[in-house]
Point group: C2
Chain length 383, copies 2
Amino acid sequence: MANTEYAKGLEGVIAAESKICRIDGENGKLFYLGYSIEDLARNTSFEETTYLLLYGELPTPTELESFRARMRAGRDLSPAVLHMIKEFPPQSHPMELLQSVISYLSGYVEHKIQHSAYCNCRDTLHQISQIASVVAALHRFRQGLEYVPPRSDLSHGANFLYMLHGEEPDPEDGRIMDACLVLHAEHSFNASTFTARVVASTLSTCYSSVSAAIGALYGSLHGGANERVLAMVDEIGTKDNVEPWLEKALAEKRKIMGMGHRVYRAKDPRAIIIEEYLQELGKRKGNTQYYEILKELERAFRERMEEKGKPIYPNVDYFSGAVYALLGIPARLFTPVFAMGRAPGWLAHILEQRSDNRIYRPKALYVGELGKDFVPSSERKSG
Amino acid sequence: MANTEYAKGLEGVIAAESKICRIDGENGKLFYLGYSIEDLARNTSFEETTYLLLYGELPTPTELESFRARMRAGRDLSPAVLHMIKEFPPQSHPMELLQSVISYLSGYVEHKIQHSAYCNCRDTLHQISQIASVVAALHRFRQGLEYVPPRSDLSHGANFLYMLHGEEPDPEDGRIMDACLVLHAEHSFNASTFTARVVASTLSTCYSSVSAAIGALYGSLHGGANERVLAMVDEIGTKDNVEPWLEKALAEKRKIMGMGHRVYRAKDPRAIIIEEYLQELGKRKGNTQYYEILKELERAFRERMEEKGKPIYPNVDYFSGAVYALLGIPARLFTPVFAMGRAPGWLAHILEQRSDNRIYRPKALYVGELGKDFVPSSERKSG
């Protein structure tokens, strides 16, 4: 590249090697450490997938048992953190709180950074566990309810629903919640994962890195799409309104939320799985409207796009918001739930970054003024 | 570039255009928005330089007056934040707390993110002000002392010393502290500033972005060098011990801290300025030992490097730790003081990133396994 050439947003630029995630966009396939997302979502718990991401291989039954016990032992929140949550201003976004709490948790752990060793991500499972606890506790406090201490006999997903609602969830609800977290656990480089790696590359702690990643996920260009899909579905209202709504939306050149993905040229494999959950949940809860509207919109939109020769398929965000809504999760918590799922992926990338590290220090192309004479304050005029 | 080529740590890769900072490494010059660091350090306050970074031009007297009033009005900490500081575990690092507090502050501001508008960095000056207040408050609590509320008649640097020590600093001490913050306010892309830009590129808030940058600065490859310089000076002990110490250190291939810089091929212009402060402070405080040891080490080390034909010069970290020590700042707070100074630079880059944004999404080069058969838990054997 010539000296002044660059790709905005580093698009297409390789930032590092990675063994964690493979996305086969052409064929709509996704793999964590070589295992297909279908296999993982259908056969493993979130805790098992977390183990896979942190250790690079699926656990034996004994390994899983001890790992699970460690993760579950870290669920409960300390009084100082509960105080932070309670005092958090009522209108503010849960992601701001999450980012803050995760770096605060760092203070509870003895690090060896500023020295030769690092904090050990694999020993800090409580940060994964507590993201769920913080989200649940904040929701309860905002409803004027009490904090529900965690249970250690439930899966990560089921325990989250328990701490959120204060009652044990239907086992199928718990399983679906847990599987949704598996589906979100990892997706190669993106702004939040890249942020985690950049921060980790300074040899900062994994808490600092995960906290920073949460800050990136908070941005409206990154997390938050499923929240907007659900708002769109609410706006459409009924299956019969899909055609006229879409006609109008396309005429107004509005973006259809949850459609298309920069990597997948086929349907996002996560969307295929999560669509099943939505159908199953809808039947069980006697609320099939979300499913019907989304499927009708998918059909109608694809028809129009195929006419133009550019098929666009739903991505994972297209169905996930409706699933969460049927599980009783308010839309405001959708991005925090994304963070709950993605935390092990961030930690896996932090570990990988450290294993062959160089600090990220790209260059800026200076395009500003070359030298200005200093003018004393009294002689300055406003521009 | 071929499909699999990449520069580790993005070294040499241009990540974006920038008008904020020019580093002329060959000639040892540094400019913020076209103004030389010498002019700024000698003629402007930290508040004035902050205005320059956030508005792109130096303020008129009226503009500066109202800007300064806004910055000073944001110094005091809320009870919730004071509680967070008090409860922060005693052994943990102040940078972890700072990262947490800055994202927590975000909750006190109404953002329009997730919508079309952004939070306005120029209206969030309290986050710059409060970094200093948090650092001072933490130090006092850890000494078993009370929080000292800020004063609005002191410069940013002088007020920090006031809040730290509980008494008004000598005016010259205040001026030097303030000038040190000017010297650290901006230094183009580096891991923390790049982190701030990556997070900002998702359209997250400036709090989330600054918080993330603090996390990056915390890493031992980034902030913290001046702390290690001071430890080295303490180890050397006396001017007469410099030669034997250096001889031994070089024989053991130890790194001489605070020497060399990836960009400057001449002496870091900030080191030249800060060296004067150290000399002046040393005389006034009757403690010239730091200065003498550092100057002797600089001379002895340069002599040896020139013999090898590769001159290496001191960077800004070489003298700053000793200056801070003479101002009564404990070594544990040096990296937080760096963050206090750098905050306006981060905000300037966040503003610039937003003004012509594309989300940072580089690629990973996948080098992992291509597809593995899922093995049920009961059939797995430990590796």
